[in-house]
Amino acid sequence: MSVIDLSWWQLSLAAALVVALAICTHIARLQLGKSLIIAAVRTAIQLTLVGLILEALFAVGTLLWVSLLGLAMLLFAGQQVVSRQKYRLRGGWSFAIGTVSMLVSAFSVTILSLVVLIGPQPWYQPQYSIPLLGMLLGNTMTGVALGLDRLTESLRRSRDIIDNRLMLGETWRQASIEFRRDAMRAGLMPTINSMAAAGIVFLPGMMTGQILAGTSPTIAVKYQILIMFTIAAGTGFGTFVAVALCTRRMFDERERLCVDRLI
């Protein structure tokens, strides 16, 4: 089976659908049209650029260039985590915590699944490593961003409760347990939901893509299961590390809650 290439006019037909939607929302005064168009334009530009970069990368295929692209993706994801926070930690801590937690979870899970599970030759072969890293990083980023957002927001809102719990002599861990639990749940819920509904409610994007590209469904399903599990692990560990670090940062060395560390 060979893949049917799409021509540009076919893509512009799909774009016309988005424009039609934007016009409809504009007429109905839902004020979504502008952000919808901007997001669509961004998708087109960003993906075109990534396509060019990947073509070049596949041609070169050295470890150096693969890791440089990985690093760029990580830093961009860290910046995305920060921009999705309602309240951020002062002094770049949100960026640092987000980046570190994605580094320890998404990167190590990617390398683990490349080396141990898939085993391409060489292990960093960009055709496997970059899409895998991208998917893990994307999902981990969402988990970390949701978890941190929930955590800082609820700590800030429930300041009285935490202060009162500290007054009764609870440690910072005890006083924050409910909030850490909530934040973990917020970060992991999308992943748990998508694992529970996969295949029944929707066909996961990667599997669909592979099938469209001519892979047999059995192989595509195996890859999808692998991806789902690694995403769950990556998101879970990433959110866990981020929530732990951020909670620690919200309390000072005398175990006081420092709401003024948020902006």
Binding site: I161, L168, Q174, R254
Partner: protein, 201 residues
């Protein structure tokens, strides 16, 4: 018997506060609103950053972790917070006697926290604090939301507990009669200093 000692304490508008509170002694603290009474108590409980030395029984605050200090030097804030479903879950040990003395029925521990009135919350917060068996008490207007009858019940119970356990106590109060009834000594915050006042009869 523990003694609570403040030395060169700076917090908010207050500078170089020096105060020694003997076991069983009740220091009443008054001052206009915004004068820094609550912040002083929060600093002593180490819930707010401050400079200077605070010690209990000659052991410095900095020598132990924050939570351990706060378990001993217990602050009861003017507005208490509640986080579990029922009242009883907040107590560290059963407090049947205290509940009875302050006019609560036995099943009060099963009450829903969301249905408590402000006066009930205030009394229950005092009982909750004592259920953790502290060494010293910092009370921020402990009878502010109570009617005169309940106020005298709470005062009597608190004074009883204080003399039984020999807590050193700082008690923020505005009411002149209450200060006369409970205080061993009375200080007023004026600007950056604590000034001792006569407890006139």
């Amino acid at each position: 018997m523990p003694q609570l000692k403040l030395e060169k304490l700076n917090i908010g508008p207050l500078k170089k506060v020096r105060l020694e509170i003997q076991p069983g002694e009740i220091i009443c603290l008054s001052g206009s609103s915004g004068s820094g009474k609550s912040r002083l108590l929060r600093a002593i409980a180490d819930i707010e950053p401050h400079s200077g030395d605070i010690s209990l029984d000659d052991i410095d605050q900095k020598e132990m972790p924050g939570h351990q200090w706060r378990r001993q030097v217990m602050l009861v804030p003017a507005q208490s917070a509640w986080w579990y479903e029922t009242v009883g879950e907040h107590f560290n040990q059963p407090m049947e006697k205290a509940l009875k003395t302050l006019g609560f029925p036995e099943e009060a521990t099963e009450w829903q926290v969301s249905r408590l009135s402000s006066g009930e919350k205030q009394r229950l917060a005092l009982i909750r604090a004592l259920s953790y068996a502290p060494q010293a008490l910092l009370l921020d207007e402990p009878t502010a939301n109570l009617d005169p009858d309940t106020t005298s019940k709470v005062e009597a119970w608190l004074m009883d507990e204080i003399s039984k356990h020999q807590y050193p106590v700082i008690w923020v109060a505005h009411n002149r009669e209450q200060i006369q009834r409970v205080a061993t000594r009375h200080f007023e915050i004026k600007g950056s200093r604590l000034i001792e006042r006569e407890i006139s009869q």
